[in-house]
C-alpha cells in the first residue's frame, strides 16, 4: 500500500475544476452542428435531413429547419454532406429541464420563405 501512497503523491491532482472553472478538455468533444442560414437553401436542408441518421433534422412547414439537439449524435454526417452550410458549434453544456428548449428552429435562406 505504501507503494500506492507514494505513487499517488507523485501523481498529483488531475481533477477538473469544472463547474467552478471551465475545463479546456471540453474543446475536444464532438459537438452538435451549427448552421449558416445564409448557405442554407431548401435543397441543402433537404440533403441535410437525408444525411442525418438519427432524425435530428426535419423540415418544418414554414420553410425552416427543425434541429432537435437532443437527438443529435454529433456524428458529423451533415457537415460532410454540406460543408459550406454546416460548422461545428462547440457547444457541450446542453442539459435541459424542458425538452422543448432542445428543439431549435433554423431559418432557411431568405428567398425560400
Amino acid at each position: 500500500m505504501t507503494l500506492w501512497f507514494v505513487r499517488g503523491l507523485r501523481r498529483g491532482v488531475v481533477t477538473t475544476r469544472y463547474p467552478a472553472r471551465p475545463d479546456e478538455s471540453a474543446a475536444l468533444l464532438p459537438s452538435p452542428p451549427a448552421f449558416r442560414p445564409r448557405a442554407l437553401t431548401e435543397d441543402t436542408a433537404r440533403r441535410l435531413v437525408q444525411a442525418c441518421p438519427g432524425g435530428a433534422l426535419q423540415l418544418a412547414r414554414n420553410a425552416a429547419l427543425l434541429f432537435d439537439v437532443g437527438r443529435c449524435t454529433a456524428c458529423g454526417r451533415c457537415a460532410a454532406a454540406a460543408p459550406d452550410a454546416v460548422t461545428r458549434s462547440g457547444a457541450w453544456e446542453l442539459a435541459a429541464s424542458t425538452r422543448s428548449v432542445l428543439i431549435k428552429e433554423i431559418p432557411l435562406r431568405g428567398e425560400a420563405r
Binding site: T15, F35, P37, G54, V69, G70, A74, A91, W92, A95
Partner: protein, 174 residues
C-alpha cells in the same frame, strides 16, 4: 405508473428542484439504469467517479440501491422488454426523485419507437432533465447533474445553433 405527488411524478421542475435543494442539501445519491444502451454511456458514467471528474467532490454519490437513490440516470432507448424493470426501479425510489434521460438513445436520436423499443425514455418514465450527446461526456453529465439539482443554469436555452456573424456564436463556443 404511480404518479402520486410524494413520488415526485407530477411536480413541476421548479417545485422539484426546490424540494431537492431543501431535502438533499449538498448530498444526492444517483442510481443508474441501462435500458438498452451500447455500453458507452455506462463507461462515461463510471468515469464520473474517476479522478479526472470525481463527482463526489460535488456531493453526488452512486448507490446500488434505488431505495437510497434520489436521482435516476437513465441511458438507452427504453427497450420494451425492459419496461417492467424500469418501472420497478422508479417505483422503488423514494420521492421526491429526479429522472435524467442520458444520451442520444434516451432522447430518441438512435432508435425510433417500434416493436423493440419505445425510442425515448420519457415514453415510460417522467423525465425531468435531458442530457444530449452520444455519448454525453463526463463533463456534460456533470453539467446535467448540476441542472438537475438546480445548481447550474441551463445554457442551451439561448443557443441558436446558427453560425457565422451573429454574436450568439461567441457565447456558444467555450
Amino acid at each position: 405508473m404511480t404518479r402520486d405527488p410524494a413520488a415526485g411524478g407530477a411536480m413541476t421542475p421548479e417545485e422539484l428542484r426546490a424540494a431537492i435543494a431543501r431535502q438533499f442539501g449538498r448530498s444526492l445519491h444517483i442510481r443508474t439504469l441501462d435500458t438498452g444502451s451500447c455500453a458507452v454511456c455506462e463507461q462515461e458514467i463510471r468515469l464520473l467517479a474517476a479522478p479526472h471528474y470525481d463527482l463526489h467532490r460535488l456531493g453526488f454519490f452512486f448507490t446500488p440501491a434505488p431505495r437510497h437513490a434520489d436521482l435516476l440516470l437513465v441511458t438507452g432507448p427504453m427497450i420494451r422488454a425492459f419496461e417492467v424493470a424500469a418501472r420497478k426501479t422508479y417505483d422503488a425510489m423514494p420521492g421526491p426523485k429526479v429522472v435524467v434521460a442520458t444520451g442520444a438513445c434516451a432522447l430518441g436520436g438512435v432508435y425510433p419507437a417500434d416493436p423493440f423499443t419505445h425510442g425515448t425514455v420519457d415514453a415510460v418514465l417522467p423525465v425531468d432533465v435531458w442530457i444530449p450527446g452520444c455519448p454525453p461526456s463526463p463533463l456534460a453529465l456533470l453539467h446535467g447533474l448540476g441542472v438537475a439539482v438546480g445548481r447550474l443554469a441551463e445554457k442551451v436555452r439561448d443557443l441558436p445553433f446558427t453560425a457565422d456573424d451573429d454574436p450568439e456564436r461567441e457565447r456558444a463556443a467555450p
